[in-house]
């Protein structure tokens, strides 16, 4: 019998602690598949952020450094400057990357640091229990915007992909989603391309993944997937905004 589905080598066999329907697990897998695709497991260093994905090292069979909240891009810069032939990626939530860590990611991108950043935008602070994130949509209720996000008070959901695409440094800046099989397929390809940019030394690559947090959205997994299509994608359009040339390996 032919085996058609197996755990990527870059993952451990530890069961995820994520809530049912959470997209973190899917994104983890896509990253691991990309590492496997290029046989990178033994030369990859992951930089974990503070958020629901803090236990990156439990699920990835690679070396991992845990960064302080928001500082993953700076930590990755430090590592990559020393070990230039290794593959260094960060995995950060929207609170981590787009609020407390905004300066670090913008400057890593602007320097064109040859690292890959996976940005999981679930429009909420998952780990701390559902507070408003910089990406929380207008009108979206959270525990710290109980009457809905109000742009007069809280400003607008921040579009990191558009911001970073405006810089000279990055090699690839894209936004993907994993709420449908079709979107997962596209996301898989873009995440692969992001790592290929790093392999080819093209500089900073960035993939924003629109993600679900059924628990803090107060939704079932199915409703959460639908919300991504109905509310998130219209405000955070999918697509590759910036891309340098690659030698196509697909």
């Amino acid at each position: 019998m032919k085996q058609v589905f197996k755990r990527p080598e870059s993952m451990t066999d530890k069961p995820f602690h994520f809530c049912p329907g959470c997209h973190h697990g899917i994104v983890h897998r896509l990253v691991a598949e990309a590492l496997d695709h290029f046989t990178l497991r033994e030369k990859t260093i992951g930089v974990a952020s503070v958020g629901c994905s803090v236990f990156l090292y439990d699920y990835f069979a690679v070396d991992v450094i845990e960064a302080p909240h928001g500082r993953a891009a700076a930590v990755a810069t430090g590592t990559k400057r020393v070990l230039r032939d290794r593959i260094v990626f960060t995995y950060q939530g929207d609170g981590d990357l787009a609020a407390i860590g905004t300066a670090e990611v913008i400057h890593a991108a602007n320097r064109g640091d040859n690292i890959t950043v996976i940005f999981v935008n679930n429009s909420i602070y998952g780990m701390t229990g559902g507070q408003m994130a910089p990406t929380t949509l207008l009108g979206q209720r959270s525990t710290t915007s109980p009457y809905g996000r109000d742009n007069q008070r809280d400003g607008y959901p921040i579009k990191m992909t558009e911001m970073l695409a405006a810089l000279e440094g990055p090699s690839l800046v894209a936004r993907v989603a994993v709420n449908t099989p079709g979107n997962v397929k596209k996301a898989r390809k873009v995440i692969r391309q992001a790592f290929q940019m790093q392999i080819e030394g093209k500089g900073f690559s960035f993939v924003e993944v629109l993600s679900s947090c059924p628990t803090n959205w107060g939704m079932t997994p199915v409703e959460a997937n639908r919300r991504i299509a109905d509310e998130m994608i219209p405000y955070f359009p999918l697509g590759t905004l910036k891309q340098r040339d690659l030698v196509d390996t697909f």
Partner: protein, 357 residues
């Protein structure tokens, strides 16, 4: 020490940078601030020549985290700053402690609080030795008082950082950083940490994956980790206290001072001795681990102490805690900016001597 090279006439800040490179530190991340800019400038010019890398970060928050990412790979790495920048690094200091990573940070301290001034001060003593970041942790803190010592202790800082997997802070000030002095540069035998250390993050080639973390959620693990850190600090206090004593054997009054103030006290003491007063100096070289046991022993033989600092009274607390209860401790201090002259200190010593002895 291998063969000594010839004498060079250099600023304190440059002595530090030179020492770091000679100690094998080929990576530097930092953000400009006076009065230490000669360090990044020297690094920016020299590191590319030795195949290393200088990177100007977007903030001190970024510098300390770049340091963290580099330190995890096991290379020797350094940053330097002054008060406001060191304050921004406190979060990172705490992570270095929790993660048990070695690196060297230089604080060429300037006046505070706030933006303060760029003149010399010792107002960062508490921040350095008591910890400005969160949690129950320590830094190794070295307090040089001459150009040569800036050089020597920078090398020592890398060795201690590696020995204990801790951040080592070299605490200087604007005077030490700016003063030009002849120094003898030298190259230590060991210019890199052991490549076989079992925690280095290098990519899991042919071995089990590793992690650097300070998060311990399993029952009792966090407490265990903290006890482990404390055990390490106890070893440090046992084995690596550094102190200079001068004319303490017959002293009736011992002055306790560190860094640039200790240097000025030395001249004042020479004068006091010449005037017939039995005065000695105890100069902590490691501010943490503090030479408390040495002070306690000295306190059984001499009863009178004068603590002189360029702040309004910080190290004096540690001196009082260390000495036997019946010792008398006077304090002379002024906030940074106006540096006491040897004459000022001679006067203070004479008055204190007259009052106490």
């Amino acid at each position: 020490m291998s063969e000594p090279v010839k004498k060079v006439f250099t600023k304190g800040n440059e002595a530090i940078a030179m020492a770091a490179i000679n100690a094998g530190c080929h990576y530097y991340f930092g953000y400009p601030i006076t009065p230490q800019n000669e360090i990044p400038e020297y690094m920016a010019a020299q590191l590319p020549k030795v195949g290393g890398e200088f990177l100007q970060a977007e903030s001190e928050i970024a510098s300390i985290n770049m340091l963290l990412g580099a330190a995890a790979t096991g290379v020797r790495v350094m940053t330097s700053s002054s008060g406001p920048g060191i304050s921004l690094m406190q979060e990172g200091f705490s992570y270095f402690a929790g993660n048990e990573l070695p690196a060297v940070v230089v604080n060429m301290s300037r006046q505070g609080p706030g933006l303060g001034g760029i003149n010399a001060t010792q107002g960062d003593y508490f921040q350095s030795v008591k910890g400005g970041g969160h949690g129950d942790y320590k830094l190794i803190v070295l307090a040089p008082h001459t150009g040569q010592e800036l050089y020597d202790l920078t090398i020592k800082a890398f060795e201690l950082a590696e020995k204990y997997r801790m951040l080592t802070l070299v605490l200087g000030d604007a005077i030490l950083g700016q003063i030009k002095e002849p120094i003898v540069p030298w190259v230590p035998e060991k210019t890199a940490g052991d490549p076989d250390r079992d925690w280095l993050i290098t990519g899991a080639r042919g071995r089990a994956p590793r992690k650097i973390t300070s998060l311990f959620l399993a029952d009792g693990e966090m407490e265990k980790h903290n006890w482990h850190l404390q055990e390490k600090y106890a070893r440090l206090e046992q084995n690596d206290v550094m102190v200079e004593e001068r004319e303490c054997a017959d002293a009736q009054l011992v002055v306790v001072a560190f860094g640039s103030v200790a240097r000025i006290v030395k001249s004042a003491i020479d004068e006091a001795r010449a005037a017939g007063m039995k005065v000695g100096l105890l100069r902590p070289i490691t501010l943490y681990p503090f030479p408390g046991r040495r002070l306690e022993a000295l306190g059984r033989q001499c009863r009178n102490f004068l603590v002189a600092e360029m702040n309004t009274g910080q190290m004096v607390e540690d001196v009082k805690l260390s000495l036997p209860g019946d010792c008398r401790v006077e304090f002379y201090g002024r906030p940074g900016g106006s540096v006491p002259t040897p004459e000022d200190l001679f006067e203070v010593i004479s008055e204190t001597y007259e009052k106490m002895v």
